[in-house]
Each structure stands twice: as C-alpha cells, then as structure tokens.
Amino acid sequence: MDLLEYQGKQLFARHGVPVPNGQPARTVEDAVAAAEAVGYPCAIKAQVQIGGRGKLGGIKIAADRAEAEQHARAILGMDIRGLTVHELWIEAASQIASEYYASVVFDRSAKAPLVMLSTKGGMDIEQVADEDPDAIAHLHVDPLLGFQDFHGRRLAFEAGVDDDVVRPVGAMLAKLYDVFTSEEATLVEVNPLIITPERDVKALDAKVTLDDNALFRHGDNADLRDLSGEDPQERMAKERGLTYVKLDGNVGILANGAGLSMSTLDVVAEAGGTPANFLDAGGGSRADAITSAVEVILSDPKVKAVLFNIFGGITRCDEVAKGLIEAFKQINPTVPFVVRLDGTNGEEGRALLAEAQLPNVYTEPTMDGAAAKVVELAAAAAQESS
C-alpha cells in the first residue's frame, strides 16, 4: 500500500524524523485555515501518488491568505496524469541549503534492507543511478543485526555529505530505518532530504510503501488506504476479495492461480488479442466466487468477450461451471464466453456446461485453442460496434 506524502510525514513524525510543520485539507476553506495555522510563506501541495507533480503545477508557495486561497482552489480537483487531486497538504515553506536523497528499500535479491544516500537530491534517482552511479552510497543491513551508528557514518562519508552534517544525517538514516522496520514498510524514500541554512536536516518529501501482508499488525496504518486513487473495478474486486488488475484491452480473463493467469494474458496477446484484465480466481474457488468475479469483469464496459482458463488442482472444474451458470442466471451477460476447463473434475464441469446450454458460451479443450477463439470473438464484436 502506497501512502500519500502527508501520511508518510505523519508516520515519520511519530518516529522522530524531522518534517516541516503542516496540516492536510480537503476543501479550500480548510486549506486556508491550515495555511493560517502554519503561517506564511507556506507550500500548498497536491496529494497524489505520482511523481513530478511540482512540474505539473501541483505544488505552489503562498505568501499570504489570498494566495493560499487562490492556489488551493487551483490545485483541488486538478488532474495530474489521470489522477484527480482530492487532498492537499499545507506545510511551512523551507529554506534549502542542500538537497540530498535517502532511502531504505526491500532488496529481494540480496534478501536484506538496502539503505541508500546521495548528495544528488531533488532529481529522479533512477536517472542518477544510470548517469552517475558513484554518486549513490549503498549499504545492505543484516536484518538480524539492525542499523548501527557506524552504518550511518559510513554512508554519510561515502556519499560525501557536508562535514558538519555527517552525524545528523547518519542519525536521520537510523530513524528512517526504524520507520522501515517498525511500520513494516517495503520502501521509505525521502527526496529531497534537505539541509537548511541553519544546518538542520529535514525530510521535505516522503514516499512510503507499506507491506499489505503486515497490515494486520498495524491497524492505524490499514485505515490510511486511499480508495479515491484506485480504479473503480479494482476497488470492487478488492471488496470482494478477488485479485484483479485492470488493463486496457477488450478480452476479459479469468483463470486460477497467479502464474496461469499471467500466462493466459500472454497467450491471448500471442493470439493477437488485448487482455482487459488479470483476474486470479484463486485456489479452491467456489461457485459464488466465480459468479462474483464475472460481475467484476463485466463491469468494465470495454470487455467484448470473456475467456475462462481453468486448470483445476484444488479448484474443481464443476464448481467453476456452476458459478458461470449462476452468473448467467443473475446478470444475463451479452458478451460471448469461451471456457476451457481441464484438471480436477474437468469432465463433470464440461458436462454441466453442455447441459445448461448457455447462450453464446463456447467450450474449447486447450488453452491455445481457447485463446484463439476468444480473440476471434472479441475482434468480431469490436468490428460490429464500430
């Protein structure tokens, strides 16, 4: 789960990471009140989970009340690369002497947290890594040992931070590592980490990704989920406990298991089609879960045809067939379905479908044949409607 900047900063503040004083707001009135409380000059910042919002007009400095109102009005409701701004964060404007970069990431390859520090802050760090890799100091931390003071010093010296801030920057890294472990994040990134003219170290931005699997231990964090940024179909699927990812094609897809689902998308693409979604109906799917999944797939108006690709292990094909039959009773779909049922109880499943004689449902014995058929049907339907 990705946090908004202000949620990350509030988390930082709880762990003693210095951040500018600020308040969130959802309306122009609240934004002006927040600006008055924070004082001027202040920064009015769009809260969206996307980089580069400053360049797109999502961050403005207000010198007084009138400007605060003007900027808040302009930014609220603004569209930033497809995301609508619903929330603002108003914080005291900071004086900047130097801009650094700091992060703690979950390095799955090394199986350890990776701490990075660079004096080239304020820019895209992937670009820095490509153009000037030596400008980034790296250190893997043994998770059984944790972050030690010497780690902080080593990173600060290796990155070449100003001599007078070696210790405070090291201390800042220790606190960020603490956020990473105690909040169970998979990413904690500060860009820029600033040094003020008074030589204070502050986190001017905050990008935090929390581990969804650990939210059961962090009830407060679980409540931070920003549903407004989510696609409506993805939200609907999540509420139903389905693993669904929206794509932009016209072939709806349901398969069982993450690997087979991904593979089904690929095989449809190989056959010349464009997948509308990824949907893993999971192991041991029961009929009602299948019915529910069909509703989610068909709620995307772009879908012209649907492919069911099931290889039953724990999942029983007869349950899948029952779910599809039930879906036809409840929602009466108008698009064609291609169904491939193989594996556990495959014969029973195919017999149920044959008996039900559902309109516009085609069964295919193989994955490749089913993909070719659904692509053909989707193409025909797309041509008809254009």
Partner: protein, 293 residues
C-alpha cells in the same frame, strides 16, 4: 532418484488439525508419503485419522523421527512455525502458507542461512512431488507420472498446465518443485537447478519463472556455469504493466526491472530455449529429449 522428497521422507504437518492441513496431509498419505506426525499446540495426544498430533516440533521429532515439515498455519503464525521446525532440527521445511509479512520472511531467511542446517521451500508454494515416491503439499498428483523431466517453478497452476501437456506428450517427471511466488523464497532456482543437475533420473529441466526480482537472470548465469543438462524455460507476465502486483506478492515489474522480456533474453543469451506458451515449452522439451535419445 528424485530430489528433496522420496520414500525416506518422514513428514510432520504444522497445522494438521485445521481444515486444509487435515485434507492435504491425508491426501499426501494416500499418495504414499510417510506422514508420521502433526503439530498443533494444545492438541498434543490427539490424532488425525491415525496420525499422532504433538504440541511441539521437538516432540514430533523425538517420538516419530520427522525429517520434513509442511507448514499450513495462517500467515501470522507461519514464521514462528518455520523457526520452530528449524530449531527442532528438521532438515527440509515446506511452507504452503501465502501472505506472510515480508519482514518475517527476511528474518526467517537470514536465520536459516546463518544456522545452515535446514532448507526452506516456499513460502506461498504448492510443495514438492516426486511421482511414484512422495508428495508433500497441494500438487494434484494424479496428473503426473514418473519420468525424467525435472520441473522447478514459481507458480502452482502454471506447473500443472505445463506438466499436463508434457504428460500428454508421454513424458513423466523426476520431481516437481514449487519454489513459490513470494519476494523472499527460501530456495531459489539456482539451488534446485543444482540438485537436478546432480540427480541421476533427471535428463531435462523445465524452469518456469515470472516477472519480478532477478532470480531468472541469476539462474541464467548459473546454468551457463554449472548445468550441462538441457533446460527449457518459460516466463509468465509479458503483458503485465509496471508497478502492479500480479497475484503473487513477488510478481511485480518495478520501474524497468524484472520484466519478462529481460528474463527471457537473459536465459536465451545462455542457450536456454524459452517457450512463449506452455504448449511451446512442452514441444521444446519433447524435441530436445527425442534428439538426446
């Protein structure tokens, strides 16, 4: 031969009294696996259809000589259960549980690595099947028969799909190892590739990867250096958009890293044939085996 599980496996299931734990332990026993014990704290002294239940792994090892553990407890208890099995000296721990917090997995991985006495397979995996010998986990064993193709995979159902096409072409398997779809698997492709290379029964290896991480790229390097048997690869997720988790916690393209294209190219650059569809994988495997025969 075969790898990891066979006639000598003495299995103990953690969470044996739960619905799934009971169902799959009995299924594994039905297949012929020696299921010698179960662990559920507080239910020691009971039995599940004749399989004795113990309060601790240590008691299960002492009384029944368990040498393999299967973890079926919910995610919040799974790391603790793996560490308990390791502490009791169990050599092979197979964790089926999905949804374990990433930092629990990091801790478990690093403890096992430091102590160096147990191997973890998974988490979030379907288990291991050595056809005709033993099945530990949830792989539907009826689709597979004994043979000379070793399979290692990050995905369960995809493995069944490929195994089924292979079986229809007349090929069986030495062992099928699901290493799981999480970001920190206890055992990686290279570990299993090394075991198949050393296994007398295995003549060809099928390796099913997917987007995310760099395990396939590292496997490509390993194959070039250490594997002389033919390897056929498959990578799922060519159509996956960046930044989206595709079902498995570990299946995510981060920025430009971890793409299916890069993985397939890494394997092909080392001479591994990569099938674009599961059917192609089986066809490639069949033609390579026919050429070798």
């Amino acid at each position: 031969m075969s790898i990891l599980v066979d006639e000598n496996t003495r299995l103990c299931t953690s969470g044996i009294t739960g619905r799934e734990g009971t169902f799959h332990s009995l299924r594994n026993r039905e297949y012929g696996t020696q299921v010698v014990a179960g662990v559920t704290p507080g239910k020691g002294g009971q039995d599940v259809e004749g399989i004795p239940v113990f309060n601790t792994f240590r008691a299960a090892v002492d009384a029944e000589g368990a040498n393999t553990a299967m973890i079926f407890v919910p995610p919040r208890f799974a790391a603790d259960s793996i560490l308990e099995a390791e502490d009791a000296g169990i050599e092979l721990i197979i964790c089926i549980t999905e949804g374990i917090p990433a930092q629990d997995e990091l801790r478990v991985y690093n403890v096992l690595k430091k102590n160096g006495r147990s191997r973890l397979i998974g988490p979030n995996c379907p288990g291991i099947l050595s056809p005709g010998k033993a099945s530990v986990g949830i792989i539907p064993a009826s689709f597979f028969k004994q043979g000379n193709v070793g399979v290692v995979s990050r995905s369960g159902t995809l493995t069944y799909q490929i195994g089924n096409v292979l079986a229809q072409s007349g090929f069986g398997n030495s062992s099928i190892v699901g290493i799981g779809g999480d970001p920190v698997p206890g055992t990686d492709f290279i570990d299993v590739l090394g075991m198949f290379q050393a296994d007398g029964e295995t003549e060809l290896i099928v390796m099913c990867g997917e987007i995310g991480g760099d395990a396939e790229e590292r496997a490509a390097e390993f194959i070039a250096e250490n594997v002389t048997k033919p390897v056929v690869g498959y990578i799922a997720g060519f159509t996956a958009p960046p930044g989206k988790t595709m079902g498995h916690a570990g299946a995510i393209v981060s920025g430009s890293r971890g793409t299916a294209k890069a993985k397939a190219e890494a394997l092909e650059s080392k001479g591994v044939r990569v099938g674009r569809t599961p059917t192609q994988v089986a066809e490639l495997a069949a033609s390579l085996l026919a050429a070798a025969a």
